[in-house]
Symmetry: C2
Subunit: 467 residues, 2 copies
């Protein structure tokens, strides 16, 4: 009997038959995420709680069957693609609220809960959970934890790792990990919470999370500011971030992306605009006008055209346009190369200059937008996969983008994660000794190497993925 069959034999005692899929027709869809890379899993399982996850992992460890955890598959880096086959563990039956205590500003949920559902539940009591990726109507809390997801409001409220108090998880031997606490301070033991956040399922399966909630601001204002070009816009970002009133979001959209919006959105964009900022400010009614004033005055320059969205509809229209950019680009260029680099805010202008230069030299359209307050730029290379010369140029261009980012003391991924598709670039940023420590940690949590293999870190030569 194969290891997989022996695993399945025993798994039948853990999960009912209707929560174990085996036929290729049903399992196919669980082999792909938004990276569009596909590998078929042998089995797909749907545990409903921590104990079922732990039992499943114990059996997987006993029989050395790989396990790839998956929420809703909105990740763009192939993090949930089961490249070794084996088991895909789907969290979407794990959606319960286990404890909700507004008085302690916390909620404990199972990690299959959708981000937007969480926001609705905590919103009723006057709170929000800051991480809100563009995919928040679809993506799970577990996916947010796995990737250390962020979104536009991280500039003021932090990323996932700053908004979690504690976790429950299962390691690569099926053992239960208790990490963190229900309190905003805690220094007992090593910080397993932050180690699991962003591990992309390679160190453990996170089953339950105690999330730190933030009170909803009393009011919000949204500014839109047009500039003649990205240089003027990114200089404005630096000025806004240099004064004390930190905006709740500063999104920026380059000239190519504005052209898309001109064709595909209801936002009115003057023909002279070569770049746009969307700046959200939040706070109390009593202070909001003064805060807007400060931010506008920092964003202002002779050639800028700045206005405050006057109605909720206008605010919603702007946000919808911003959030539609990525799917719209996908329609224009189905095989676009979507990067997620970050540089210190003051160095955005230098990155933009380099991107211009790279686009010109390689004759590739580059569309950039993103979370400027964090220096997090989504760089999209629009390529035609049927044009081998262009694809070769794109590869070279990407190489130069990464070089520029690292030269500017930036990092190669801000929130999308490494998954499968960016592994080869990791060792450009992380020196060998630090990588060695990370691999050592991996071996501690997952001695059999079955937790989402071939993800997050580059393979050692002896463990390379068969092509």
């Amino acid at each position: 009997m194969s290891a997989l069959d022996a695993f399945l034999d025993q798994l039948a005692h853990v999960l009912p038959a209707e929560r174990i899929l085996r036929d290729a027709g049903s399992t196919w869809a669980y082999g792909m995420d938004n990276s569009r890379v596909h590998h078929a899993p042998a089995v797909v399982v749907f545990p409903e709680d921590h104990d079922e996850v732990a039992e499943t992992m114990r059996l997987a460890y006993a029989h050395r069957v790989p396990v790839t955890t998956r929420g809703r598959g909105t990740g763009t880096a192939g993090g949930s693609v089961p490249v070794r086959g084996g088991v895909v563990l789907v969290t979407d039956r794990m959606t319960r609220v286990l404890d909700f205590r507004p008085e302690d500003r916390l909620i404990v949920v199972q990690t299959g809960m959708i981000n937007a559902d969480l926001q609705r539940i905590v919103g009723e009591k006057g709170f929000f959970w800051p991480p809100d990726p563009t995919s928040n109507a679809l993506c799970t809390i577990g996916g947010n934890l796995g990737c250390n997801a962020a979104g536009p409001h991280a500039v003021k409220y932090g990323t996932t790792r700053e908004n979690v108090l504690g976790l429950r998880a299962v390691d690569g031997q099926g053992r239960t990990i208790k990490a963190g606490s229900q309190t905003t301070k805690g220094v007992v033991g090593h910080d397993l919470t932050r180690l699991l956040i962003g591990c992309e399922g390679t160190l453990g399966v996170i089953t339950e999370a105690t999330l730190k909630l933030t009170p909803l601001p009393e009011t919000r204002r949204l500014l839109r500011a047009f500039y003649p070009d990205m240089h003027a816009a990114s200089a404005a970002v630096s000025r806004v971030m240099a004064q004390p009133a930190t905006p709740a979001a500063i999104e920026f959209i380059d000239g190519n992306a504005l052209d898309l919006l001109r064709k595909n959105s209801a936002v009115e964009i003057p023909s002279s605009a070569g770049a746009m900022l969307m700046i959200e400010v939040d706070g109390d009614e009593s202070g909001i006008d003064a805060t807007v004033e400060r931010v506008v005055s920092a964003a202002r320059s002779p050639e800028a055209d700045i206005a405050v969205a006057q109605t909720a509809e206008e605010q919603a229209r702007l946000w919808a346009a911003r959030k539609a950019l990525s799917p719209t680009l996908r329609q224009v260029a189905p095989k676009k190369i979507n990067e997620d680099v970050v540089v210190p805010v003051s160095r955005i202008p230098r990155l933009i200059e380099t991107l211009d230069d790279i686009a010109t030299r390689h004759a590739i359209t580059i569309v950039s937008f993103g979370h400027a307050g964090n220096g997090n730029i989504h760089v999209n290379l629009l390529v035609d996969p049927d044009d081998p010369a262009q694809m070769a140029g794109a590869e070279q261009a990407l190489d130069e983008v990464f070089d520029a980012v690292l030269r500017l003391d930036g990092t190669l991924s801000g929130e999308h994660g490494i998954g499968l598709v960016k592994r080869e670039f990791v060792s450009r940023e992380i020196p060998p000794d630090s990588l060695d420590l990370m691999r050592g940690i991996k071996a501690v949590f997952d001695p059999a190497g079955i937790l989402n293999p071939h993800k997050k870190l580059p393979d050692r030569p002896d463990e390379a993925l068969p092509s």
Copy 2:
């Protein structure tokens, strides 16, 4: 030749003679911290930069000599006491600013810099670094990093781990660790930054830190609120934390601590007061009065006596009184047992009831004060070490305090760390499998077990410290 002599022989090529202390008269003082536990080191070294630390650690690894890193020794848990002798590595020559970029809201410093010196440097450009323990005039950034220190402003601005972008460190083999980046987002590799923060020198020696800076608020107000007892005060804390205007600090002081202030400070305290809150609110001038109004209205109850400090002098006097509590208590009871527990904010009243009950049953005076907005209570048991019956009672009382904290989903230490003196309690909070993972991580970073041995985690039976 002994291992230590061989180490010293080679060390002479790394550090000049005047930065290596060997005579017992000079090294004695480096064997103790504010826990008052003392173990003499064999050698004290004063490296001046990362490379000298790395060289020293490489030699220590080669010769298996224990290394305990030390800032200014303000820790209260024995974290920097060299219980195995060997080397004490002192960071106080490592005080340079390596890079300061207000436009990126970051500063890179060597970790021997004093917290107050840092605040002065960044304050000149309109920033602060949120962690500000009571000892901030003396303690180093490295100590803050090692303990994940916090202080009163963590309720709004987070602890050390939320205010660091990246680190440079040296592992137990003398290898350089690059952790994090210069950006506020980053998901490349595992989160070594947060793993090193709070590790108390057991996973690495942090030599350089990229600190995330926060703009200084335009203005501050300080409220003082007297209540008849701790129950009324802690109910007020819950109400304040349940509304959106998060204060910059909410400190509380119990009746016994108020008695100390009556005798030892210039603060006027009505005789009817049995508990006090100090609530700091910060923000823009334009909004501060409305914010104060909201906080006062949440803190108000029929028996409360609330006032806003009218002058900078009055504010300073209140803070000075609060900060003097710990040293004053030390004078009253030199061998006080000082704990640092945390519970979810809504459970502070239940903890306070339990502390009252424990104090009564064991006839021990318990003085409590602390950072109420985080639920972080400094519980001081005033004991006479020459009274064996009382000491036995105190031990039992402490045991009950910890039980209560864990029953309330709290944690045993919020910011002081585990060091030497709290190790035996760690396994009450952390289950064996999680502890096993932590020990696995320790072995990856420090395979020879020479980095601050016998700290942070309880010993395995085979590695127990000789008494």
